[in-house]
């Protein structure tokens, strides 16, 4: 996993609540057996004017000029700004894969669906929770200033605005540690293999019907 320490990038605003993972990456692209290559189909139904197909070339497809990521002022955006309950619905990890593959490193929203939030950390994508009022203000600042950028500092748990204002955010220590260091949590869990085996032996006695061999 890619480590995340400090990132500065252009902010793209998606001003709607309840953006679901079907919207982030529609189902036909879930047929892939790979982890990469989802970027060109991120927000496919909003981004293009036709229906996308898996494994197809997207370069000649008609773009929806109204969609935020197609507007030149947001070219190269790597920080996504959204409203509440971002990433609701399906558990598909293809959603953070697609955001990351497109080039996003952080999302800022007032709240997230639990599974999406969790999946993001496993893929070097930082979901930041900020108050409704602050998110609202960031939407206004983004709209008012072309090329608006934010700096996300995970080490110090702050979002820094162009004026130098530092907005603090909360993040779980373990997740922060893994993300800062790009750690694979399977390796960490396996350090507790003996404890897992002990638990399992006890469970084999208390609930033998759960074990078939």
């Amino acid at each position: 996993m890619k480590a995340f320490t400090v990132h500065q990038g252009v902010v793209a605003p998606m001003d709607r609540a309840n953006i679901d993972t079907d919207m982030i990456i529609p189902k036909q692209f879930l047929k892939s057996i790979k982890r990469s290559g989802f970027g060109p189909n991120l927000f496919d139904e909003l981004r293009y004017l036709d229906e996308g197909q898996p494994d197809a070339d997207n370069s000649g497809r008609p773009l929806n000029p109204d969609f935020v990521l197609n507007q030149p002022r947001y070219a190269g955006a790597s920080v996504l700004l959204a409203r509440e309950n971002f990433g609701c619905g399906s558990s598909r990890e293809h959603a953070p894969w697609a955001l990351e593959d497109f080039g996003f490193r952080a999302v800022i929203a007032p709240s997230y669906a639990d599974i999406f939030y969790n999946n993001s950390f496993k893929n070097g994508l930082l979901p930041i929770v900020l108050d409704d009022a602050i998110v609202d203000r960031l939407f206004k600042e983004t709209a008012a200033n072309e090329g608006y950028q934010l700096t996300v500092d995970l080490e110090n748990k702050v979002v820094v605005t162009p004026s130098g204002e530092k907005i603090p955010f909360e993040v779980d220590d373990f997740r922060r540690h893994c993300l800062l260091n790009g750690l694979d949590d399977i390796g960490l869990t396996l350090q507790d293999a003996e404890i897992i085996k002990e638990y399992e032996s006890a469970r084999r006695v208390s609930a033998p019907w759960l074990f078939h061999v």
Binding site: D15, D20, K31, E45, P54, S91, R92, E93, I196, L210
Partner: protein, 472 residues
């Protein structure tokens, strides 16, 4: 000291290790696998040179991509027309063969939607922790199990370690007391709940469904309710263990037998929230207040009753909701104030992990019996949840009722719930669907989904528009 909730008990029983930061390693008793969210997890194991921790805790079946027409199914995997789907189904077979994981392959009678197959096989049992790379894993909580939908990285983590890293959630109780009216099902109850608390209402919570209306509900109804806990934002849905649970589980292939059955019953008896348990939040609902539900918009919380209308902008709580309504009117091709019974249907879908079990098919068949699908409806599909549900329905003659009424009787799979196979809506088409999500494009590019119960879907198919099944 206050008593414990069902979630507290299941959590305590599965903590392997508490970490300093408040997260815990939770032991996983059962992992269900399907073709969409597992290939990258198996690839991860291979790259790291790891093996599954415990083979017999896993059970796999392909469901999302499988074709449902008998013709396409006859020639097995090679017969799958879509080459990308074919590779994904084949990859699941290859991975299960390679690692030695039990799989009900496409041609197996026991194949079906993973959330139908698990309970049907007794592979989901009370007191278990169950995970699957699918958000509708909440379904299994109907058995007083702790079931989490997880992402692919977590699928790999569970394969490799038999554990999940979790932070304890809050306890939310949805208490439904009283008697449900005639024709009101678990689907109507859960849609009513989602309408009440919203799609984010259960975020961060384990949601238990309790109260007398739940106690008298069948396992199928309970599974439908827990299935859609995620549409209210709760990753976990649950119902306490009782005689109805025991009756359903008894005798199933993976269920405990003989003296182990007695031992299990004793262990399971306490799988309920204590009378003095403290919940972080309680929502009380009177069963009598619940009418047949129909979603009008593009989020499950955009729901109303069969005698209702599409809400107006005045009904929205704030600007964010107003803009959501405006977008939904446009996408759905509806106008504010339009009566629900005036919505005409192009297609009808009866199936999905929410509503494809035998009781669902019986309810739909009862409505369809001796009637005909309206000429204006292009297609009405009935897709059983598993090969065994299909066989049972055929034994009861339900297939004949459907076919005579003009429905298509299909092979088991997820089908038009998410349209990863050939079953999908055309752009602009309205569908009465027994599935769980009415998101934009969910059932097909530009498709318009209305979520309803199986009986309501069948009645809509006959009438060509929504009708109140209680008066049908």
């Amino acid at each position: 000291m206050a008593g414990k909730t069902l979630y507290d008990k299941l959590w305590d029983q599965h903590v392997v290790k508490m970490r300093d930061d408040g997260t815990a390693l939770i032991y996983i008793d059962r992992q269900l696998l399907h073709e969409v969210t597992s290939p990258q997890a198996f690839e991860g194991l291979r790259i790291a040179g790891r093996k599954p921790w415990r083979l017999d805790a896993n059970l796999a079946t392909p469901d999302h991509n499988v074709p449902t027409t008998p013709v396409e199914r006859e020639s097995g995997i090679d017969g799958i027309q879509d080459p990308v789907s074919r590779i994904q189904v084949k990859t699941l077979d290859d991975n299960c063969d390679h690692f030695g994981i039990t799989e009900f392959k496409m041609a197996d009678k026991r194949q079906g939607i993973v959330h139908v197959v698990g309970p049907e096989q007794g592979a989901t049992l009370p007191g278990m922790t169950v995970v699957c790379g699918d958000s509708h894993t909440a379904t299994h909580g109907a058995f007083a199990a702790l079931a989490h939908g997880i992402g692919t990285s977590e699928v790999e983590h569970v394969l490799a370690t038999q554990c999940l890293i979790q932070r304890k959630m809050k306890n939310l109780l949805i208490k439904v007391d009283g008697e449900l009216g005639k024709g009101i099902t678990g689907k109507d109850v859960v849609l009513h709940v989602i309408g009440l608390i919203g799609t984010a209402g259960g975020n961060g919570c384990a949601m238990e469904f309790g109260g007398s209306a739940i106690r008298s509900m069948s396992m199928e109804g309970r599974m439908t309710m827990c299935n859609m806990a995620i549409e209210a934002g709760a990753r976990v849905g649950m119902v306490a263990f009782d005689e109805i649970t025991a009756e359903y589980v008894k005798g199933r292939p993976y269920a405990p037998k003989a003296e182990q059955w007695e031992m299990a019953l004793e262990a399971w008896a306490d799988l309920k929230s204590d009378d003095d348990a403290v919940f972080d939040k309680v929502v009380e609902i009177r069963a009598e207040d619940i009418k047949p539900q129909v979603t009008w918009g593009t989020s499950p919380e955009m729901v109303t009753t069969i005698d209702g209308s599409v809400p107006t902008l005045d009904d929205a709580a704030d600007d964010v909701e107003r803009s959501g309504f405006t977008r939904a009117y446009e996408y759905m091709g509806l106008t504010a104030g339009q009566k629900i019974t005036d919505i005409k249907l192009d297609r009808v879908f009866i199936g999905s992990c929410t509503n494809s079990r035998i009781e669902d098919l019986r309810a739909a068949a009862e409505v369809a019996k001796g009637r005909k699908v309206a000429g204006s409806v292009k297609q009405a599909l009935v897709v059983p949840g598993s090969g065994l549900v299909k066989a049972q329905a055929e034994e009861e003659g339900l297939d004949k009722i459907f076919v005579e009424a003009g429905f298509e009787w299909r092979e088991p799979g997820c089908s038009m719930c998410l349209a990863m196979n050939a079953d999908k809506l055309g752009s602009g088409e309205h569908c009465a669907s027994t599935s769980n999500r009415n998101f934009e494009g969910r059932q097909g590019y530009g498709g318009r989904t209305h979520l309803v119960s199986p009986a309501m879907a069948a009645a809509a198919a006959i009438a060509g528009h929504f009708v109140d099944v209680r008066e049908f």
